[in-house]
């Protein structure tokens, strides 16, 4: 199995990308890598070139660029060339820590959508932080590939999330929840009321009803489905609040004198554990589900460990054949937004 890697994307590229790839290569003997990037920068970083080759690129896409224009114009960029390799069957998956919009655009316009999927959904694995919960993470989509969504899109996300949860996280019959502004059936705007009814009438979905954004981390579902706009707002608020809470604790300790510093030393293992639980790095990258091959984006600030973990996630996706299973389902169920039971 071969992974096409954008070696130039991310704040600490190509260094952490090459390091993470080498660590993953040593861990997974069935993986090969193509590193797309500037050879004069990438080559000196490589310790061992086993199952690892460099494909020269130029003309990088930077973080601020308008994504669709960038992938149209910069044909020789690492993002475009890596995505083209997947399109032409020269690689099985595409990984990048670069410009999110450009990675999404390359995924949709170059790698291409699975037949039957209108819009791919950007999918994150997030923590179930609830102490004592039997599972430690859940699947959350669409976190922002689409600012405007239709009923049909959300039903497709439910199946995309279900296959991911089953095959990558190993959850049997995952509980599917709908992100909404209240727990009851009749809550929400027109779109969410309609999606509730559709999901509830599917005999192959274990639909458990609405999940409010305040309950996201509490483990009420294994897959939480949402339009991209709302999921993005709730995800950013969750991340921002966690960051602010840690900042307030740090500020308090720094300005709290010796007593606070001693207290910090005693609670350090607990703060470390909470930091781990809440860190996005623990759960890998964001997958653009609904494409013909795995396309995974990790955040720009990714370190070596995050790169290694994200490649582990791609390895699991490839081994589990999650894309093939998704293709099969949508081929056999072209009208996925039609009810299948009289609930």
């Amino acid at each position: 199995m071969k992974i096409a890697v954008d070696a130039m994307g991310g704040d600490h590229a190509p260094k952490v990308i090459v390091e993470g790839v080498e660590q993953a290569r040593d861990l997974y003997p069935d993986l090969e890598f193509s590193l797309y990037g500037d050879p004069s920068k990438v080559k000196p970083l490589i310790q061992n070139s086993e199952r690892l080759k460099i494909i020269p690129t130029s003309n990088d896409i930077t973080m601020g660029e308008e994504p669709v224009r960038a992938i149209r114009r910069k044909k020789n960029s690492s993002i475009v060339k890596a995505a083209m390799a997947v399109k032409h069957g020269e690689a099985d998956a595409f990984f990048s820590a670069g410009n999110t919009g450009a990675v999404l655009a390359a995924g949709i316009f170059i790698v291409g959508r699975i037949k039957g999927i209108d819009r791919p959904g950007l999918t994150s694995v997030l923590p179930i932080a609830q102490p004592g919960a039997s599972r430690h993470s859940f699947v959350y989509l669409d976190t922002g590939a689409n600012a405007e969504s239709k009923e049909r899109n959300l039903v497709q996300y439910a199946y995309l999330g279900k296959f991911y949860s089953e095959n990558v996280l190993g959850v049997a019959n995952p509980r599917i929840g709908l992100l909404n502004n209240g727990a009851e059936e009749d809550k929400g705007d027109t779109l969410h009321k309609a999606v509730w009814q559709l999901l509830n009438k599917k005999d192959d979905l274990n639909f458990v009803g609405n999940v409010e954004s305040g309950d996201l981390l509490f483990g009420k579902a294994d897959v939480v489905v949402s339009d991209g706009w709302t999921a993005n707002a709730a995800l950013k608020a969750t991340e921002g609040t966690a960051k602010m809470m840690l900042k307030l604790i740090r500020h308090g300790i720094l300005h709290g004198g010796l007593r606070a510093k001693l207290g910090y030393l005693m609670l350090k293992p607990i703060f470390h554990q909470i930091g781990q639980t809440m860190s996005t790095s623990t759960y890998g990258g964001a997958v653009l589900l609904g494409l013909k091959a795995p396309v995974i984006k990790t955040h720009g600030a990714a370190d070596t460990l995050t790169v290694k973990n994200t490649i582990g996630q791609i390895h699991t996706m490839l081994k589990a054949g999650v894309i093939d299973k998704t293709v099969d389902f949508f081929t056999n169920n072209p009208e996925v937004d039609k009810p299948t039971k009289n609930a």
Copy 2:
């Protein structure tokens, strides 16, 4: 100035309501109160009946009831009778800790909208938690009175928030931000792109651009305007995450042995300070702005202190004449969603 109080709403009513009202009465010599409720329950709780009378009601609206139907049918409930008193000029403001939907419905259908306002916005004051920030709170609306909003509504919210920030929080020329999914001008769905352009073309608004939900508590604006759907999702995610972080710390301390317990004792003042900063009680109740009189809802779990603080907030609103200023503005600016400058 007279406040009509729903003495029966909230988890700990009428006890905490009566206690909070008595404390506020002692603090503000210019306030009088009408307590709407069951005299057999309310009267025994009253210590001193100075500037305080009971108006008997029956047939309470409970927490789970469908709001609009409830206020239509239960004419003798504390919520309906208190709102009617405001409508008939017998009271200047309405306060409740009861069924949120019923309070909103009573506000809109009984107290009534200011001419020129299409939809009132539910408004919360939230913490600016950023250490060292010069201000400690900001105005946030609509937090959920409307699940579906139009451009015009968001422009009206900007002015409602501005008047509240100026008159109640004393902020000169408040910075107005738009909750959106990115910082740049061209971010967002159709609605938010259009609202950005409208707000930017107002010469009487200090518009500072988009605010992302992850930056809500970081103090980038004094008023953050949003459609009710998105603001509600981001607010609940913020509250839920803060709650989860505190839960994780508590769990870690409980299961961390003697060392963790000692650490907790040393950091207790810091945790207490963070709890204060993040607590909704610190910032008063949610105001339904855009009505002909102050209508304020505090959360069902409110304690005596929260009731007292929320009445302090109503006192400030009445003294500052924020409603009169809002009425004047919308009377003189019937087409508030038209540009006033060529930006």
